[in-house]
Symmetry: C2
Amino acid sequence: MAKRDPIITLEECSYRKILDIVSSKWAVLVMAVLSGGTKRYGELRRRIADISQKMLTQTLKQLERDGLVERNAIPSVPPTVEYSLTPLGQTLIPHFAQMRQWANEYYDSVERARMDYDRKAENPAAGEQR
Amino acid sequence: MAKRDPIITLEECSYRKILDIVSSKWAVLVMAVLSGGTKRYGELRRRIADISQKMLTQTLKQLERDGLVERNAIPSVPPTVEYSLTPLGQTLIPHFAQMRQWANEYYDSVERARMDYDRKAENPAAGEQR
DNA sequence: CTGTATCCGCCTGGATACTG
DNA sequence: CAGTATCCAGGCGGATACAG
């Protein structure tokens, strides 16, 4: 009856915590742009291809809530709002670099694996005959 | 008219590539369990709390397609199927460790930021008076 | 310029039942 | 034991219209 079968739960899993933050497909792009310095709302929109207003706003709000991005609204007409990474947000930059490094190094292998897999799925007899 | 406003697209972004693989909430858990060695289907089910059959099967299939996990079916009665990390899959382990490390170091800050943010949202005048 | 609000299609993912 | 098949609710995310 010893404890030989540890159960992993979602809550225990530290990976998950960072994934909750970073797995949004837009969040990493926004932070990537902000890593280059403070940007205004419209500038972010223009820099990130295919992001909708809704998603940009939503992503920024979430990142602000998580303490990763700081919002600075300047009460002027027309209004100006600047966004920048907080010190906490900055700590993720090297982590992103690591992710990019892995992708650069191994993503080709993944793509090759996918092609092999799909080819075999379409033609199960491949490698056996003909 | 110089190129002073680089546009980031989803496709260019290397972060995305690894996120496509890893951002599935179950994928990291499955790989975490498999990092401890070869496991059978049922064992994975028991080890990972709250995972449904569908999600386990689906996740394993995707990881296999990506070349990160290897499936080894032994034709016996009843059938036995073993799953293990491929060498390519192994290369992600240290990366997961990094993710866990960041979470351990900074996640408290994120939670505090969230509480602050939510408190201010509910009570906008907080910090000004009282 | 910087958002908010609404509608809505699509996909993810859970529950359930069935198969080799 | 190790899946497959199907149904279905809920949330994500896009398009559009409107506001301060």
